[in-house]
Amino acid sequence: MERKIGVYICECGPNIAEKIDIDKVIDAISSSEDVTVAEKFKLLCSADGKKFLEEQIKKHNLTHFVVAACSPKEHEKTFMEVSENSGINPYLFQLANIREQCAWITEDKDEATKKAIRMIKAAIGRVRYHSSLDKKEIDSNPDVLVIGGGIAGIEASLQLASPDRKVYLVEKASSLGGLVTNFEKNFLGMKPISDFIDKKIQDVKHNENIKIFTDTEVEEAIGFFGNFEIKLKNPDEEIESIGFNVGAIVLATGSKLFDPKIIPEYGYGKIDNVLTSLEFEKMNKDGKISLKNGKTPKSVAIIHCVGRDEKGYCSEICCMYSLKFARYLKDKIPQVKVTNFYSDLCIPGKTHQKFYEQTKAKNVDMVRFSDIEIAKNKDQMTLEYKDEKGGKKSLLADMIILSPAVEPSIDASKMAEITGISQDEEGFYEEAHEKINPVSTSTEGIYIIGCAQGPKNITDTLVQSEAAAGKILSSLVPGRKIEPEVKTSEISESFCIGCKTCLSVCSYGAITFDETKKVSVVNEVICRGCGNCVAACPSGAASIKHFKFNQIYQEVKEAIK
């Protein structure tokens, strides 16, 4: 089919008209035989301008069109819409940025004009090699798999489940609730947690749109956003795996505590009555705080930051729950001596400082320490430490509670491997963007919430559950098709030599290897169009739609003239 290119130069008022000799430009570009028309217009992005373009396209039966105006970031979308409205595929259009990157930065009118000619010829050259690209639409499954039945997974499930959207909640233990079922109170309002968590568990159990699997683990999760194939290991090993499809996956695998045995100075596992925070929570919830010999402790030391140096991060919740412990103790054993040993008090959050001050007022000793060592001393223990001023001090205690660092759960690595998402050095799942996309991962459709993403308290966990729900509810709408990126990579089967280099450079896991054909295949739904695989491909088999070599080559050719 004969190519008819229309080239339109925007004067942008005086912005381009005064800096570039547009008539000279029109002369220079009109000589090409397939440039059917080259005209200027005062302001192409205005309503009049758009109307003018639409009329021109129809009048000249244009097949391609080029606009020379401002930055694509301003109006590429505008002119692509004009294309579409006029019956030209929007990708048969190219915008030459002769304003921001020519008129506005070049003093000499002559030079600016010459550069504008180069840039517009480059755009014309490029557009000749453009192909029509069509929006893709794929069916999607709105259902969601939630891995982990703790408070994070429970909340996410409740937010997501609806008659249009089934939630599969998978928990490896026999019951739901996770770690918080061990706590008596939540440190924020010091209210009983059981009311809160029991109700949530009941809500989940009674929700007919949530299917719960306990004593179950995820075996396989293959696919992509909108279409994941899931296999669960059936708890009854006689029966084969349970399989179903979902559109999104939420990882809420929680956390565990750092093992204080790694630091012998704490005496954990060696000396009686040295407990971890979780052990103390359980003891407190069961109703009696007592020593191994059944007696009530008279002096308790709570040590913050256990394992902080080894892990290399602050676990955020320990200072607050250590203060909560001080309260548990003072409420239940009014005469008990409580000493909290901390390095830096981490109490961000508008109500946390008040909580701290109220705790201190209950006659709790707060000691800033360094270098602590615990030794058995008959029935008790001696804590030797350096105080704030560096002086050596010691304290006798009956019971020592250690607040260890929060680590990802023991299953985090397995789940990361099964779902194909990445973990950081510490094993926490990695978010897509630290600041503006904390519950997404670089794999579209897979979300991370709660302590699996990083240590956090219950309130912030609930926020992340709701946030992941928000992400899914807005992007995986029942009945709505998914429109993935158009300008994706493609790999020519004939040229692919099967070296798999492209697989290794793709940050999104968008390329898989077809073992039968021995070639790499791009999943167009996952591909984000960065072009890394194209540059990495040694045989030239990989190319990126709309940024093909021959298209860029045209621009390079003109840029040098």
């Binding site: 008129a103 010459k114 480059a122 300008k487 890394n532 194209v534 940024f547 390079v556 050719k557 040098i560």
Partner: protein, 141 residues
């Protein structure tokens, strides 16, 4: 008669950071040499040896590849690959018989209009001192 040497520099700018930085140089009305013609790519990781080679074989006096600062890449790690490839690309340039300094890699963020202007100004001066690419001279013979 020696004609005044007007360099021709190809600038591959990544869509998210450096192209936006170049736009900002424009919005701020800074002076940027017209010797550089910008070519937009989605990511600096798109730039492969063939593109760079082609540019020089066509007669480019200089090639600038600009991307996001390390850690800021819109696609996560693309610019790290660009950085790694750059070392090899320098050898490619030398293989063509040209000074490897005719290829430059710079990081320019979307808010660094001034930096973009500075980078191009400095590169342009350097290329002017180096003189025209010998490939271009061979072509014109």
């Amino acid at each position: 008669m020696a004609e005044k040497f007007e360099p021709r520099i190809v600038g591959f700018l990544c869509n998210w950071c450096s192209y936006a930085g170049a736009d900002l140089a424009g919005t701020s009305k800074l002076k940027v040499p017209s010797s550089l013609t910008p070519i937009r790519v989605m990511c600096s990781s798109r730039i492969d040896p063939v593109l760079v080679e082609t540019a020089f074989l066509q007669g480019a006096d200089g090639v600038l590849v600009a991307g996001c600062h390390p850690g800021d890449c819109h696609y996560g790690e693309g610019n790290y690959y660009a950085r790694r490839r750059f070392a090899i690309l320098k050898k490619v340039v030398e293989g063509l018989g040209l000074e490897s300094d005719r290829l430059r890699l710079s990081w320019v963020s979307a808010s660094e209009g001034q930096r973009f202007a500075d980078v191009v100004n400095e590169f342009n001066e350097k290329i002017k001192k180096m003189g025209p690419s010998t490939i271009k001279e061979k072509k014109s013979l």
